[in-house]
Symmetry: D2
Subunit: 138 residues, 4 copies
Amino acid sequence: MNFCESKLRVRYAETDQMGVVYHANYYIWFEVGRSDYLRMFGMTYKDMEAQGIIMPVIENHCRYKQSAMYDDMLTVKTSIKELSPAKISFLYTLIRDADGVILAEGETVHAFISSSKRPISIKKVNPALYELFLRAKE
Amino acid sequence: MNFCESKLRVRYAETDQMGVVYHANYYIWFEVGRSDYLRMFGMTYKDMEAQGIIMPVIENHCRYKQSAMYDDMLTVKTSIKELSPAKISFLYTLIRDADGVILAEGETVHAFISSSKRPISIKKVNPALYELFLRAKE
Amino acid sequence: MNFCESKLRVRYAETDQMGVVYHANYYIWFEVGRSDYLRMFGMTYKDMEAQGIIMPVIENHCRYKQSAMYDDMLTVKTSIKELSPAKISFLYTLIRDADGVILAEGETVHAFISSSKRPISIKKVNPALYELFLRAKE
Amino acid sequence: MNFCESKLRVRYAETDQMGVVYHANYYIWFEVGRSDYLRMFGMTYKDMEAQGIIMPVIENHCRYKQSAMYDDMLTVKTSIKELSPAKISFLYTLIRDADGVILAEGETVHAFISSSKRPISIKKVNPALYELFLRAKE
């Protein structure tokens, strides 16, 4: 349960005139990976937001190695990199299913904030979730 | 004051591997046109939402004549087509600045709803705005 | 084989500050439906483009009935509406899986053009494909 | 001439259900900044591609400090960070015009490749452009 794999197929809308996927879209795929990762815990991000736990991206990074192309089947492999009561970060590996080649590696860092956009301690607000994250990270 | 012209330059992200702008993005430009149209009245859509007047798209249509391309300078010409207390529709003409050619013609229909997503009468909720729209339409 | 069903989950990136999916994204889902429809014939759109058969959208229309929301599981049901040697049109029904409610109904019209962007007759260029489309439509 | 300022207004489509701009869109704005930067030299990116000089993003990074919101007027301040015959990197500062607050700081790294996607030396392929970049960086 230390990582989660999401499958997706490249959409035409995601390409640009270079004939490959526009780079910013990789971050949308990472979000798909992150959503699936949370779902794996039986805790959807939708539920988290409903409970007033918001996780905005405060930093991200991506290294692009090879281009994803229209109609490619891809796997996003998501794991937790770091966790503190105030922040969480995720790692992503994007793999092309046809040949197993790694297309990109990325990272996103998130703050935990409340619905009113104040910083919160996830450890205090939802200790059970914090424990789950902690164990997943190991 | 019966129409509004918005200028925009095509972004690389808006193209697809056909080498032209992906069709769905035209609706985003129409939204830019609509926002500018409302701003022309001194009433931004941001203010309208803050006042609890939401205008979701309930129908739209576009006829694509020629392709917009990366870096093109374009004009969106926006006007009101129809108005009732429950609904409003806008017309859009997308023009390529370099030669004045019409690239697309579109239409969006919007319901007036409240923050709680109930249908409202704009005529009752904000008669002054209704009057403004009515005069603009003429 | 007269229609194709595509499953997709709503991405966070597809929502807007109304708390629902931004309307233009429905057309991207229709494209997913269209791609899957063609794949059903053993003829991917990727292959078609490689063979020099391009299908740009020349007109589209959508009627929005209820909002799609983040994390919703949806089905796009795609079928062919009309076919001629020069054009093809598709119909789409967007269904929310949780309760089977129809969220939207759309249509896209496409011209058949060559890689050099000239109109072509699909009947002449690829009679087998034209026959497949014809039978699918029935 | 060592930096370029681009003005843009936040589009509704760029927001998400958090009520702020979706993080991946910042990279699209950086691309707007980069395009304008090149245009400042009288060398548009469109021309560069036409000459067979392609600049795909091979790495990017963004630090998000405060949220951009719908209808905000923003400035993207773009400059060159590093240059070699094989690569170029740009720095971006995103500023909210209303109060001058820095919303985000980003960076993108690009390889120079040919139309056939082979690495090229910009110094050899277009020495004049390389010199321009070099002087702009100083």
